[in-house]
Each structure stands twice: as structure tokens, then as C-alpha cells.
Amino acid sequence: MPVLTDDRRIGTVPPPIPPGDNGGNGPSEYGSSFPISKGQIGVWILLTAVVMLFAGLSSAYIVLRGVPAWQNIELPSLLWPNTAILLLSSVAIDLARRAIRRRDAQSMKRWLIAGLVLGVAFLLGQVAAWRQLVNAGVYLPSTLQSSFFYILSGLHGVHLLGGVIALVWVLVAALENKITVFNYERLKLCALYWHVMDAIWIYLFGMLLLS
């Protein structure tokens, strides 16, 4: 005798829900009570793709690390202060998020500007780090590790640039007073993206150092 399973339960009508799409946050005209908003899912998906990109490249790194022709390079010294700057920029953005949560729009704007400045400083710092390496005579094809260094830091930089553009967009909205304690999802998502970019950089830097 076939079993009557949940999916066939007929006649259940969910409770009434607010009109419109609620900014994509939870229950809406669409009836979905999925607890995570569209924007959040979108950014998590984007981050998954980015993580997989670096995961694939990391596995290539690990495999080639074992090759006899592997040669370590001396990593440019600028990477250390650069990493600190990146971490600080992430902190700044997070402080901006916390600020608006306590309805302190002024602090939020200041911290966002700080985050943007630090983020751009990081990118410029990475370019300077590349210059350092070139001046030391270490180019893209010089050794396997140098190739990985340029490509991994370059790809990370490109993705961080995307984050900078997003941050500018958030900052403009903030300056136009569009970001409030009731509506700061953009900032939350931007902060999420930055934190993950941070973590990816720490991971990459660590992997390069530990070889």
C-alpha cells in the first residue's frame, strides 16, 4: 500500500503574507519563507565561486610544490604591512556596519571612507610589492613560486578591486543617507565580501610563506 508522504499533503494553505517583495528579505508576495534574503544568497554564491577558483589554484600549487624544479623566492617585504592594511580596512568596514546598527550614521560614513582608503592603499601596496619583486629580478616566469605569486596575488587583487567598486557604491548610498538601521543590507553584504577576501589573502599569503 503506497505511503502518503508529506510532499503530497493536500490542502495546506500557508498564512497570509505582506505585499511586495519585502526587499527580497524573507516572506513576500512570493510566499517563500526562506530565511535568507536574495542578496545574501547571491553574495554567498559569488563567494563560493571565488573560493573554488582559489581552491583549484591552491591544489595546483600544492601539486607543483613537490616538483624537483621548485624554487622558493623571497617574498617582497611590503606584503607584511599590506596585509595589515587589508585587515584594518576590513575592520573599518565592520565598524561602519556596527555603527549604523546603533543608528550612528556619521560614524558609519567615516568608517566607510576609512575602509575605502585602506582598501585602495592595499591595492596600491600590492602593485608596489610587485615592483619590489621586479626590482629584485624576479619576474612572472622566473620560478614556479614566482609565477604563482604574481598570478594568485593578481587574481586576489582583481577580486578585491571588485570589492572596492562595491564599497564605493555603498559609500555613495551612505552619503545620500539611503543606508539606515532598517536598510543596511548592502553594507552587510559588502562587509561579508571583504571579510572573505581578507581570509583568502591570509590563506594565500600563508601558503606562500609556508613553502
Binding site: M1, P2, L4, T5, D6, D7, R8, I10, G11, T12, V13, P14, I17, P19, G20, G24, E29, Y30, G31, S32, F34, I36, S37, K38, I41, G42, I45, L46, T48, A49, V50, M52, L53, F54, A55, G56, L57, S59, A60, V63, L64, V67, P68, A69, W70, L140, P141, T143, L144, S147, I151, L155
Partner: protein
């Protein structure tokens, strides 16, 4: 009183360009994907006709072809490098630009909002962008055919160092660079699309539509999008490394000490097998990205034309999940004789035969759906049934190849070609045809000609088996893949009649597709009008919308779902189907 969504859409009429070309409406974008993919399929198909002609009559002079392709047929005979370019471009166009594009981009875009009761995708602008990046990638790959230094010659798998050293073969210079660029653009487009599909299916399902009330088409598209999310970035990474090996002097995949022609190539210690590992880590999930939506669509269409619920919906969902998870741990079965550690060969044999189990479960369930059914043999229904037959044939030959020791003899022969064409090309093609015949009235408000559809089915079913089944035989006989002239080998000469048979069947199969193309495009403008919304008496939500649905899909109020999509032939009911949005008045008896 809630605000009407249609109020938002009763604004100025969009001009032709905004409505049909740069549209953000998922339906238009879906149709754009489908038509672009069809164009790529025609090109890919023509390339294969040239290949088959060469294989059947390798040393016969062809003055006509020499007139059309003066460079590639100088002397009246096809140049060997042209043959390999045909192989490369045929595979690339079909796998990426036809199948992945039409199934996830075409059907995914058109069906997802409609089947889940939403007005559009979660991110419509991003959706449109994904199509235009896809179109750009099509233009780039197409241009690779016309480069003076030759179209790429690495096969669709682009193994290094053949793909990493520009002097390794004609066409491996600019042609190969364009190939990598096109694939990179395609990957980005796919990721943008996948982002939309996942977000939309998760967050925008209408009232009452729980996950376990989703049509299998939706489950398959969701799972496929997640697969793509995890697999394509790895391909992108590998492509970036390959590009730098080619243009930047790096040595990820090229070892030291190699010599092309008499010229030493200056590299320092890369590993060719690394490319294979990265590529196949993507490549194996990719074949499931192709076949899963096909399975989902075929299941729903089969159920509709059997007038019977799909057998064991739950296991259908679980088996798709199992297949996807396992697809990430079987990639080494493409590399049994590659020189990788033989111990890994043992591991991958185990995982590969394991992945056969959920596929078998699905096959039993399709059979179970047909047992005791009342089958309507429409064109769509016939293609859905044909899908099952093709998938079984192709799937069984996979067992031979998954067993590493047997694969030693069969690897890189036509046995492999037969296997992957049946499971990854023909079966999904049948599902795609089923989908096109089925959803055509919803897409265009008209029907395709049913008689032509059936004729198309019979020719395609017979033709496909006549082309691909004999390939198992010549593969057993040892005919290698990507060989420009099998008659160079004495041990292959006795099988040459089979090659001729395959080629003639291929010409007939190819010609039969013209029936479909004519039917499709003429019917868009002159097909019989679909006056009722639900001509097939199906149960899913898209059939409650007008044909074609307007902007916003469902009018003022979105449907509410009260049941799963498989209430066919419910005992005690007046009709032999109950759509998902019909509330319960009678509980089904068992």
C-alpha cells in the same frame, strides 16, 4: 488589499529593442539562449559531417570540398590538421555552446520562474548580462575557426603540453588562445546564470511550493547550478594557468627539456598531468551538468505523457543529489592510463562504479513510471521515452570504461566516443527535443507541427542508434579516437565498412534535423495557435499562465500551490490530472 504587481508593469510599452533584444525578461533571455545554442549546434553538426566524410573515405579526392575550403583541402584531400581542428571545434561547440547553454541557459531561464510561480529571476539584469557574455563567448569561439594560423587542435580537452606550447601544432597559437578566452567567458556567463538559478529557486517559490513539491525539472536545474558553481571556477583557474604558460613563459604544465620540431622549449618543471587533474575535476561534473537537467525534464515530460506519477519522486531527488556529490570524486576514470599512480586507478574504479548505482535507480524509476501507464505518443512523449533508451545504452557502456583494467584496451578508442555520445549528447538531445516540443506552445503561443515532430523522432531515434551503436564495435576493434585516416593501420582496415555505414547514417541523421529546424522556425510564425493554456493537460504552474505568458507571467495574483506536480490519474477524480494550484476537495484514495 495588496498592491497589484501588474500596476507596476502597466507602464510605457517597451520598444522592440528593449522588449526582444536587450530584454531582462527571463522568457526572452531563455529563448535567446536556445536560438543561439541551436545556431552553434548547426555549426558543430556540419563540422561532424565533414569529419565523418573523411573517416569513411579517407583518401578519396573531393573536388567540391576543395572549392569550398581551398586551404584545408589543398590537393583535393583534407589536411590532417584541419581534421583535428574539426574534432576540437565540434566537441567544444557541442559540449559547452550547445548542451550546457540550451539546457541550463535556455530551459533554465524560461522555466524556473514559471514553474516556481515567480514573476522573473532574482536578478534580471545579471541574467541578461549572462546571455550577452555567452553570446560574446560564442563569437570568440566561432572566430577561432577563421584564424589564419589555424583553428585550435587540442581536442575539447586541451591536454598540455599540446595546448600549452604554441608551436606544438598548427592552430595552437592564436586559435588556442581564442579557445581559452571563449571558455573563460563562457564560464563567467555560466556562473552568472547559476547565481540566478539558485537564488531564484531557493527564495522565490510561491506560496505552498515546498522543496518536495518542486517538479524534477526544477530540482535538476538547482542541483546543476550548484555543480556549475563548484566546477567551473576550477576550469577557469586551469585556463588562467594555461594562458600564462602559453603567453607568459610560466611552466605550470610544461616540463623541462622538451623539444618541438628541433627547437628546445625553455620551461622549468611543470607537470602535464596537473592539467588533466584540474580539467577533469571540472570535466566530470560538467557531463552531469549536461545530463541532469535532461533527466529532470525527461522525467516530468514522461510522467505527463504516461498520465502517471513519476515512480518514487523522493528517490529521484536523492539519486540526483547522490550523483552530483559523487561526480566530484570520479574524475580519475578519464586518466587510468595517463601515468597517474595506479593506486588512484583502483580508487577511481570504485567511485565510478558507485556512481552507476543512483543512475540505475533512476532508470528503474523511469521504467516504473511506464509500467501500467496510459502513454500518449506525442512527439514530446516519444522523445522522453527515447531519452530513457539512449541513456540506458550509453550508461551500460560506461561500466566497461569505469573498470580500469578493461579501460586499458578501450581508452581513447571509439568505444569511448560511443559511450559519451549516447549519454552526453544523444540522450540530452532527446530530452531537449522533448522539452522544445512540449514547451513550444507556452513559449510562442503556437504548436509545432505534430506529424513532422513524429517523423523527426523516428529518423532521429533510428539514425542515432545507427550512428553510435556501431562505434562500440569499431572501438572494440581498436580504432583510436581523433585519427584522421584509420586505413593507415592494417588492423583497422577490415572494419572500414562499418565506418562507411556510420557516415551514411550520420548524413541521414543530420538531414533529419532539418525537419526539426524548419518545423521550429516556421511554427513560431505560422504554427497552429495554442488557444488553451494547458494543451497537454500537465500539472505544473507554467501551464496556468497564458501562452505565451506576458511580462510578470501570472497576471495580478501569483498561484498558490497545494500539491505535488504528479497528480495524474488520481482515482476518484473527474479529470486524469490535477494541476498543482488546485486546492483539495477530495483527498486521493489509495
Amino acid at each position: 488589499m495588496h498592491e497589484s504587481h501588474t500596476a507596476e508593469h502597466v507602464h510605457h510599452e517597451l520598444g522592440f529593442v528593449r522588449k526582444y533584444i536587450f530584454s531582462t525578461d527571463h522568457k526572452i533571455i531563455g529563448i535567446q539562449y536556445m536560438i543561439t545554442a541551436m545556431a552553434m549546434a548547426v555549426v558543430g553538426g556540419l563540422l561532424s559531417m565533414l569529419m565523418r566524410y573523411q573517416l569513411a573515405w579517407p583518401q578519396v579526392l573531393s573536388p567540391t570540398l576543395a572549392k569550398i575550403f581551398p586551404i584545408s583541402y589543398s590537393g583535393g584531400v583534407m589536411a590532417p590538421e584541419f581534421y583535428i581542428s574539426l574534432v576540437t571545434m565540434h566537441g567544444t561547440l557541442m559540449v559547452f555552446f550547445l548542451f550546457t547553454a540550451v539546457l541550463t541557459g535556455g530551459f533554465g531561464n524560461f522555466l524556473i520562474p514559471l514553474q516556481i510561480g515567480a514573476r522573473d529571476m532574482a536578478f534580471p539584469f545579471l541574467n541578461a548580462l549572462s546571455y550577452w557574455v555567452f553570446l560574446l563567448s560564442c563569437i570568440v569561439i566561432f572566430s577561432a575557426l577563421f584564424v589564419t594560423s589555424g583553428a585550435p587542435m587540442g581536442g575539447w580537452t586541451a591536454y598540455a603540453p599540446l595546448s600549452a606550447v604554441p608551436s606544438a601544432a598548427p592552430g595552437q597559437a592564436t586559435g588556442m588562445t581564442l579557445w581559452i578566452t571563449a571558455i573563460a567567458l563562457f564560464s563567467v556567463s555560466g556562473l552568472m546564470g547559476g547565481l540566478n538559478y539558485i537564488t531564484t529557486i531557493l527564495t522565490m517559490r510561491t506560496r505552498g511550493l515546498s522543496m518536495m513539491r518542486l517538479p524534477l525539472t526544477q530540482w535538476s536545474l538547482l542541483i546543476t547550478a550548484i555543480l556549475g558553481l563548484l566546477a567551473f571556477p576550477v576550469l577557469l583557474g586551469a585556463g588562467i594557468l594555461l594562458m600564462f604558460d602559453r603567453l607568459g613563459g610560466t611552466s605550470f604544465f610544461v616540463p623541462a627539456g622538451i623539444i618541438m620540431g628541433q627547437v628546445p622549449i625553455d620551461h622549468a618543471g611543470g607537470h602535464p598531468l596537473l592539467w588533466q587533474h584540474l580539467f577533469w575535476f571540472f570535466g566530470h561534473p560538467e557531463v552531469y551538468i549536461v545530463v541532469l537537467p535532461a533527466m529532470g525534464m525527461a522525467s516530468d515530460i514522461l510522467s505527463t505523457f504516461c498520465r502517471k506519477p513519476i515512480f518514487s519522486y523522493r528517490m529521484m531527488v536523492y539519486s540526483m543529489v547522490a550523483i552530483s556529490v559523487l561526480s566530484f570524486v570520479v574524475w580519475g576514470h578519464h586518466m587510468f592510463v595517463s601515468g597517474m599512480n595506479p593506486f588512484l586507478g583502483s580508487v577511481f574504479t570504485l567511485t565510478t562504479l558507485l556512481i552507476a548505482v543512483p543512475s540505475a535507480v533512476k532508470t528503474f524509476n523511469w521504467l516504473g513510471t511506464m509500467w501500467g501507464a496510459r502513454i500518449r505518443f506525442t512527439a514530446a512523449g516519444l522523445f522522453a521515452i527515447g531519452f530513457v533508451s539512449m541513456f540506458v545504452s550509453g550508461g551500460l557502456s560506461g561500466i566497461f570504461l569505469g573498470t580500469s583494467a578493461a579501460d586499458i584496451q578501450l581508452q581513447d578508442t571509439y568505444f569511448v566516443v560511443a559511450h559519451f555520445h549516447l549519454v552526453m549528447a544523444i540522450a540530452p538531445l532527446f530530452a531537449a527535443f522533448a522539452g522544445l516540443y512540449f514547451w513550444f506552445p507556452k513559449m510562442f503561443g503556437r504548436f509545432m507541427n505534430p506529424l513532422l515532430g513524429k517523423i523527426h523522432f523516428w529518423f532521429t531515434f533510428i539514425g542515432a542508434y545507427c550512428v553510435f551503436f556501431p562505434m562500440h564495435i569499431i572501438g572494440v576493434g581498436g580504432q583510436m579516437r581523433r585519427i584522421y585516416d584509420p586505413t593507415q593501420y592494417m588492423f583497422l582496415v577490415p572494419q572500414q565498412p562499418v565506418n562507411v555505414f556510420i557516415t551514411i547514417s550520420a548524413f541521414i541523421l543530420g538531414a533529419a534535423q532539418l525537419i526539426f529546424l524548419v518545423n521550429f522556425f516556421v511554427s513560431i510564425f505560422a504554427g497552429k495557435r495554442a488557444t488553451e493554456r494547458n494543451p497537454w493537460h500537465a500539472t505544473t504552474l507554467e501551464w496556468t499562465a497564458p501562452s505565451p505568458p506576458g511580462h510578470g507571467n501570472f497576471g495580478e495574483e501569483l498561484p498558490t500551490v497545494y500539491r505535488w506536480p504528479f497528480d495524474f490519474s488520481v482515482p476518484g477524480e473527474k479529470e486524469d490530472f490535477i494541476p498543482q494550484d488546485v486546492p483539495a476537495t477530495v483527498t486521493a484514495r489509495h
